[in-house]
Amino acid sequence: MTTTSASEGNPTTLLAADRVGRKFKDFTAVDDVTLRVGPGEVVGLLGANGAGKTTLIRMLLGLLATTVGEVELLGGPPDRQLRRRLGYVPQGLGLYRDLTVAENLAFSAQAYETAVPELPESLRPVADRLIADLPLGLQRQLAFLSALAHSPEVLVLDEPTSGVDALARAALWDTIHEQAEAGVGVLVTTHNMAEAEQCDRLLLMSHARLVAQGSQTDIIGSTTAIAIRTNDWARAFAVLNQAGQPVMLSGRDVRVADADADQVRAVLADAGMSAEVFGVPATIEERMMVLARGPKAP
């Protein structure tokens, strides 16, 4: 018998999609995506708005049917029973704003039929405060604590650190790595490209498809940027902007993603400007911008 499953019978795959697609009428939200998350892995899912990340996650959680392809959560099609072994922190955190910290935890523990977790030191002083009155960093910590109380085997985190300060972000990533080291598989979306380095592996979606995966270097691929150093950045910026180059400021340099150095030199020379023009590696954002823009006109 030749049945294939999304995890290809691999018992160490926690979360899998096999050539998954989803259409909404004529609109293709997700097209031919294959991915796996194994135990102890931290996998980052990147992409612009509308790239298909949220639709993909909803299918992985079993909240939305696939149009084609299969998804597997902990070895089977995601259902209520399997979802109980998953921890999910949505972007909106899923906390009850008019309940206190302690009430939120008790409520969620009851839903998962698990013991109420002990509050960490940081949350103890605010146990009786309403969620609506808490700083965002503490709300995020509580959402984590709540999602981890039933010892899930897979964690799906949507923008887990958005809006918090550097120290709170560091504390949240400590928790994520601790979970991974205990064998939990983690799929995390982020808009903060500096966080890409926190992941073992990255997946980049653009226009419904998975377009690159691997390390940061793999994701950036052959995309480069041109840096321009002059004593008059504003003028260099204006001149290149006028010439239709996707230019931006970087400190006191000007950068153009995916541009041709000679063309940039020519534009500056025409304007009578002398400048140092050199190639630099693109950033992940620049790579995403190039992808979102689509193929360059000849």
């Binding site: 990147l46 992409g47 612009a48 708005n49 509308g50 790239a51 700083p135 965002l136 960093g137 923008e159 958005s162 809006g163 918090v164 300060d165 550097a166 120290l167 709170a168 972000r169 560091a170 990533w173 400590d174 790595h177 808009h191 903060n192 490209m193 500096a194 380095e197 926190q198 992941c199 073992d200 950045w233 504003a234 003028r235 910026f237 204006a238 902007n241 996707p246 230019v247 931006m248 400021l249 970087s250 400190g251 006191r252 000007v254 950033t283 992940i284 954002e285 620049e286 995403m288 911008m289 979102a292």
Partner: protein
């Protein structure tokens, strides 16, 4: 003309929301005010635009009509279309007729909103909504542009678009102050001011902030003092007060902005724990 807030403190009841904070920005430059939720970013920006009452300190800013201010929430009217939003704000600044239409079209074109002109603001994506807010703040071509978290929560491609629009405004001579929670964005600005709990953690150019860092950072798989270490992927970075203090088997790294901000936040928290 330099715009500035000098030694400002702001109180809300018993809370000191801003504690002796200064900022300064020149025409043609971008200053990024960095910090998390509750750092005091919004209060500082509101102080600059004259919307927060100072307990102490002073502000040098142009009159309200010469400031473009984009608040952290909304910045546009959800029940109006993109064009109606622009016309409404244009009217407030006394723009009308061809002058308004040409300025409006130019800004919407730069924001890639030209094809969404008849859409309701409520129907725009988060990124488009912020770009509309930015265009509204820019409509009267103000010499001082104050943007409160234009990029929080929006996707990286829209963020690049916004950054390009901010760069464009600065290149055309505006003084720009923007708050952000993203350190990589702060690195791209000419000047940065890092706030934490209403106080200044660091300020200056990126080079100033990195150079003034006192101490050393090591990278290690097993930190010696967990309380002074944080994750950078599978490894940890750990803070040491002196270079000589770094253990012989740990590799020292050149601190980046993330290392510096995390360390300064830890030191500040440690200090306030000792004080209480």
């Amino acid at each position: 003309m330099t715009y500035a807030v000098r030694c400002a403190s702001v109180r809300f009841g018993d809370t000191l929301a801003l504690d002796n904070v200064s900022l300064q920005v020149e025409p043609g430059a971008v200053l990024a005010v960095v910090g998390g939720d509750g750092a005091g970013k919004t209060t500082l920006l509101r102080a600059l635009v004259g919307q927060a009452q100072l307990a102490t300190g002073e502000v040098d800013a142009p009159p309200a009509e010469a400031i473009g201010y984009m608040p952290a929430t909304a910045g546009s009217w959800s029940s109006l279309s993109v064009a109606q939003n622009m016309d409404f704000v244009g009217g407030i600044y006394g723009l009308s007729g061809n002058a308004l239409t040409s300025r409006r079209d130019e800004l919407l074109d730069r924001a890639s909103l030209g094809s969404s002109i008849d859409q309701l603001a409520s129907a725009l994506s988060g990124g488009m909504r912020r770009k509309l807010g930015f265009s509204l703040a820019m409509l009267h071509d103000p010499p001082l542009l104050v943007l409160d978290e234009p990029s929080t929560g929006i996707d990286p491609v829209s963020r690049i678009d916004l950054w390009r629009m901010v760069s464009e405004a600065a290149a055309a001579g505006a003084a720009v102050v923007m708050s952000t929670t993203y350190l990589d964005e702060a690195e791209r600005a000419a000047h940065l001011l890092v706030l934490d709990g209403g106080r200044t953690l660091a300020s200056g150019t990126l080079a100033d902030v990195l150079d003034s860092f006192d101490g050393a950072i090591s990278t290690t798989a097993r930190p010696r003092r967990r309380a002074w270490a944080w994750r950078r992927g599978r490894e940890y970075h750990e803070y040491w007060p002196t270079t000589a203090g770094v253990p012989i088997d740990a590799a020292a790294v050149t601190p980046d902005l993330e290392d510096v901000v995390v360390t300064l936040s830890m030191l500040k928290r440690h200090e306030s724990e000792l004080a209480s």
